[in-house]
């Protein structure tokens, strides 16, 4: 891009930044007004978890989280629609293989721990899922073509697991309970843990699949079926 133009844009953007900072200053100087924090903390004992962020994510604003998992699903479906994955890396040298053999189980165990601890301390499905995903990244770097993921048909189930279970719980609660995603107080803890587990698995496998970067290689049986479908 033209140097003068980029300078001009720079000046305009700086002015915008100054304006925004001034606006922010006037906002902070004014009365803070009502905030959601006291309310969120007050309702915490009824939410089924004792960690406020998890309560917001999976109870008060669970609908947002459901949709966020759908965004992740849209991304991986978009990636798959673009064609098969590029070929993987060469099988790694002994050092990386040994490292992968240590790190991957460690990441999975830590992920499980983070998932469990999310109910009452920092942690939860996203952090745990990210760890699972990074385990997949390391596996792919070490030469595993599919980043430790199963075949295509199973991957399809894995990436929908999070939204699927979430939505199913929500709809069942709407039909038999108080309303969509309205957990009964008694079972809230277990429902949240169930949803979080499915979400962790889905997030982990989706992130790993995104790193693979394309449609998984078809297994023998399903490839025949999809040919039928294509015909």
């Amino acid at each position: 891009m033209n140097r003068d133009l980029s300078l001009l844009i720079g000046i305009l953007v700086s002015l915008l930044a100054l304006l925004l900072i001034w606006i922010f200053y006037t906002t902070l100087a004014a009365d803070p007004g009502p905030r959601l924090a006291p309310l969120a903390l007050e309702q915490l004992p009824n939410s089924g978890v004792s960690h406020p962020v998890t309560a917001v994510l999976l109870n008060y604003r669970a609908y947002d989280t459901l949709l966020e998992l759908a965004v992740l699903l849209a991304a991986i479906l978009g990636i798959w629609s673009l064609g098969p994955a590029p070929s993987g890396f060469q099988p790694a040298g002994p050092a990386l293989t040994v490292l992968a053999n240590w790190i991957v189980p460690l990441a999975i165990i830590t992920g499980g721990y983070l998932l469990w601890v999310g109910g009452h301390a920092p942690g939860g499905a996203f952090q745990a899922g990210a760890l699972l995903g990074s385990a997949g990244v390391i596996l792919r770097l070490a030469g595993h073509e599919r980043a430790g993921l199963p075949n295509e048909a199973a991957q399809r189930w894995l990436v929908v697991a999070g939204v699927g279970l979430f939505l199913l719980v929500g709809l069942l609660l709407a039909v038999f309970g108080a309303g969509f995603l309205t957990y009964p107080k008694a079972s809230a803890k277990w429902l949240i843990l169930l949803i979080e587990t499915a979400a962790t698995i889905a997030i982990g496998s989706t992130l790993a699949a995104a790193y693979v970067g394309g449609r998984p290689p078809l297994a023998q049986s399903t490839s025949a079926a999809s040919k039928d479908l294509g015909a």
Partner: protein, 105 residues
Amino acid sequence: MSLLLFVFDSILLLTLLGLATAAVLSPEPRNAVMLFIAFGLWLSLVWARLGAPDVALAEAAIGAGIGGALMLAAARRSARRDNRRDNRRDNRRDNRRDVSCQDAQ
């Protein structure tokens, strides 16, 4: 707020802005991604200071970790493609030079 804390906050933020500027200004893709990962990790440090350990953890693992890994893979792929293309172009130029040499002889 104590002066010490103010200085501490300022250093945290200046480093953060410095890393972001460096990441944005770096023309070489792999360096830019490395700087971006460093920025993400530093950001998670800042968020931990602001009492948001959950978000700090997620930013380190997802934003800097997975996002960085994705970008790094892309930077490496495009670098490899550029190399291959440059090699091919060099080969072609060499061939042409060979031809012209033969013509001259």
